[in-house]
Symmetry: D2
Subunit: 327 residues, 4 copies
Amino acid sequence: MNSFGRIFRVSIWGESHGNSVGIVVDGVPAGIELSEQEMMADLARRKSGAVGTTPRVEADQPNIISGLFKGHTTGAPLTILFSNTNTRSGDYAKLKAQPRPSHADFTSMTKFNGWNDPRGGGHFSGRLTLGLVAAGVIAKKILNKATFQTNIVELGGSHNAEEFEEIVLSAVAAGDSVGGVIECRVDGLPVGMGEPFFDSVESVVAHALFAVPAVKGVEFGAGFECARMRGSEHNDPIINKEGVTLTNNAGGIVGGITNGNQLVVRAAIKPTASIAMEQQTYNFATNKVEPLEIGGRHDACIAMRAGVVVESAVAIALADLYLLGKK
Amino acid sequence: MNSFGRIFRVSIWGESHGNSVGIVVDGVPAGIELSEQEMMADLARRKSGAVGTTPRVEADQPNIISGLFKGHTTGAPLTILFSNTNTRSGDYAKLKAQPRPSHADFTSMTKFNGWNDPRGGGHFSGRLTLGLVAAGVIAKKILNKATFQTNIVELGGSHNAEEFEEIVLSAVAAGDSVGGVIECRVDGLPVGMGEPFFDSVESVVAHALFAVPAVKGVEFGAGFECARMRGSEHNDPIINKEGVTLTNNAGGIVGGITNGNQLVVRAAIKPTASIAMEQQTYNFATNKVEPLEIGGRHDACIAMRAGVVVESAVAIALADLYLLGKK
Amino acid sequence: MNSFGRIFRVSIWGESHGNSVGIVVDGVPAGIELSEQEMMADLARRKSGAVGTTPRVEADQPNIISGLFKGHTTGAPLTILFSNTNTRSGDYAKLKAQPRPSHADFTSMTKFNGWNDPRGGGHFSGRLTLGLVAAGVIAKKILNKATFQTNIVELGGSHNAEEFEEIVLSAVAAGDSVGGVIECRVDGLPVGMGEPFFDSVESVVAHALFAVPAVKGVEFGAGFECARMRGSEHNDPIINKEGVTLTNNAGGIVGGITNGNQLVVRAAIKPTASIAMEQQTYNFATNKVEPLEIGGRHDACIAMRAGVVVESAVAIALADLYLLGKK
Amino acid sequence: MNSFGRIFRVSIWGESHGNSVGIVVDGVPAGIELSEQEMMADLARRKSGAVGTTPRVEADQPNIISGLFKGHTTGAPLTILFSNTNTRSGDYAKLKAQPRPSHADFTSMTKFNGWNDPRGGGHFSGRLTLGLVAAGVIAKKILNKATFQTNIVELGGSHNAEEFEEIVLSAVAAGDSVGGVIECRVDGLPVGMGEPFFDSVESVVAHALFAVPAVKGVEFGAGFECARMRGSEHNDPIINKEGVTLTNNAGGIVGGITNGNQLVVRAAIKPTASIAMEQQTYNFATNKVEPLEIGGRHDACIAMRAGVVVESAVAIALADLYLLGKK
């Protein structure tokens, strides 16, 4: 449901156009230095403002309202709250009649018998990922010897970062959107994280990643490419007593357990469902397929902002496995 | 750890060359007709015997030792046990000195300080998936209106099923192995399964799938292909009041919730790590990289047997979400 | 840790003298009518003001900051926040040196290596039970056919309610405090709630009750008195086809499952640890036993305010079992 | 449901007259020396044979069928199985018509719509506690510095152990049964176990204890007696820098956290519901209250055998908190 983790345990809440979004982070060891200021860099990476991102700009100011005393964690749960200020709720009656294609409108209405908050996507809004980013900052502090590098490695079909901006601009011009692939690499993890059978590193990291809106695929190391490889190519021979391998097709995880090599994970991000161009889709009020135009403020390429969210989800999953492994 | 699920809850145990492998299945509604006989068809799909599969043949006879009375589930946990009979433990001292590349040998030894059972892979053996298949049979009974179709859609780089056998034979001849991609399609699921934020259908299904040994990638619907698509191509317009969509790039899941269309998920299966040909890898006894030859009985293409295991993992995850959604 | 429940799941946070205390309530069915106003009656039952209660008076105004739309629950988590306003942090350096007897000062300092927030008891403060009461209001709405009656049945050794006020006043006069027993009776529960083996109704209710600060004993039906009874006295014969029993020594629970009769549970509340009179206890600064006088504002009989907290804990546990039983 | 614990996690299964009863124990650190032989002493404490215990005698031979290699735990789940051999299923059709007073017959039938296994109490049988005792042996090995003393402190209303046998014999002679109170004292626990808010030591221990059939009350330290005490009597002053207290009314737990003093917990055990003398109770076949005589083999005082079960439940709960606290 809305909580995740066994030891490092997060509980998320909020709606796009409600009072606030936020997260409770339990299981954080006492004595870690922490401030709201330290969260700003990662929050800025998630912010809109770049090419193809939504014109809705929020302060995204985190408020740590529990679990912190004299600048250090206390062992009690940390609650981080982000107020919503810049909200403009449109005509959501229209959404009920004609749910946007590939949006949660239809599924959430059906699941919650019409009681869901539809304003700006409500609880299904990408705005909830603010909490993930805040929790990710704490998670990375717990994994203090690990370093993260996260990049867009594919966008709109191209692997060339220099073309990305142009691809997004071209989609914007067409009133369309594009998808992408984000890769996260983590160095400095110890050997032995991950719990067989069901809490393999891949299982726990993928669980967290697929909670991020728009993620439709997750792969580790060579990933789907392994289906095109023979064992003699794919196997990673060990070359020294630390367990370093010559290649890293495993992406740092063997038997569901970290092997001390770089963890490599990629997440496929679908193109934003909200596009400016007209779409033909069912109208439940008129009982026929009709044109739909979506107003509001949207990202043309959510992958441009999703990097830090992917990284945070990975960090949250790894922090839990790290603390679990210390038991 | 070794249990999974919130309501439909499985706990797995066993070792490849120990007394047995098995599973406890809790949360099964009372009154479902069930017998060991009904498990035989799915267990047979997992069996070796086909081209490129291990010559180790086990009876794989399930014994339901609790939770069944007069041929029906009682509401108490079902325990299903598979005895191990055909075990031949090789020289596992050798494994400790020279762990097999891309095998759990090194990671499990390190994690458990050398106390792990190394015989035949111990607790990391693919043999534990017998329990998954047995639990999958029960899960599919709970999802009684759903139907599953599972196929190898890619093998050794080919998408042509007619070539698969030849590809495997060619790998066997070279003392090598090949990977593949398995696709599972599920029809007949209701709209509304899946729990935001963290228990999206993708999260829970991927969690279960990545517990299956050798799975290195999971994608839903268009999956990684979405990174090459524009929103206008990727969006699935609704065409009638049941929520049927014109296309199904979402793979039946929008906003983490089933939308009533076919659920489509694919899992990448890496090539078997145990290959007959010689490999160069580190020897911790001599402190140098040396040739390694792996004895024992192995599959050249585990994807040939993994279809039913993938299907079972998907069914287990869906059964839990289904029962959770009925609350 | 700081969350409880499998379906109806609460996550609590906050400190006595921090920004606020609060609770996230997940798993609430969509479409339940709810308002902050409806919480006021139960919150008032918990308030100080009566004889022997603390002079610290807070507004205790709940703010529902998520999960509510148009006066109804949405299926998303409800977050309820109570701001702290009337805080006066005393000299907590003194507490570190000379922890108060039978207070969490020593255990929390040791557990969290001195990083805990000591102001007003920090995360261990009874003020956190505000969140329990708010969640209890929601729980009782889920259990809409159940009615609760909660009373002090014993106080300072007396079973006569008319004497209670005098007993408390006498303790106040002596600078002392008194304990009591609270009984909660619930009518209207269906037969069949409770999950064997480990989630018996007694297990889940007691788990929630022992989280309430100051509870040191929990018993159901005849409880400890059963040790003085023979089976022929203790057994409750069934007298009609609804399962009504002639006596109710079981307190409405047999085999860990509700039997449709009145649920009866009692919780023992210890006397408030903070007393005005001087105590002799160890001083870690001087390394000797020394007199201690405790300042601050305290209740002489926390049992006077704990009734609604006990009732709320019972309701939270029952709501979870109720939703679990509907699966 | 049928599993308990966050790190040290047990999953129990079985029926009284089925194939077997057993338990899976997950989360056990690797490298602990263990054998079936080491379980015999505790299993013997649970055995029948003494005055007033059932004439059904089972071998109670544990079989550890997973997780053990070369006499040590491997880090994989331990599965312990007890075969049922000496089963005599009576006329359970009769139980359906006329459920035994204060037995799970009526509640289990109703909960599971008549699909429950009724033979010998099925899944509700005290025989399942064999698994608890086996898991308790492992738990106590994890808590290797702790020592346990468990005694009957009250039986049939008497606190004098010398009278206990006579009291039971007198009940047997009358075709009746008696209840009792079991006390468990644990020395050697570290300061700091227990997790606020919801996983206080009292919460977790009571959760496990109330899963034991026949337990109807749990109290810690002075327990219900605290309702008769003033704070000045109840408070335990600290007397040295290790945190030793002059008195121990807290039973070793303050603020839900161990304080390093002796943990003291008592469980009230109701008189056995199955008594030889005739009872008047409802017959659902004839729709009237009628005499009932219960056949089969039963204990006149289950408290005589329950000591080790109570101790095991306490140990299981403490082992989980201990491992959780090491994170």
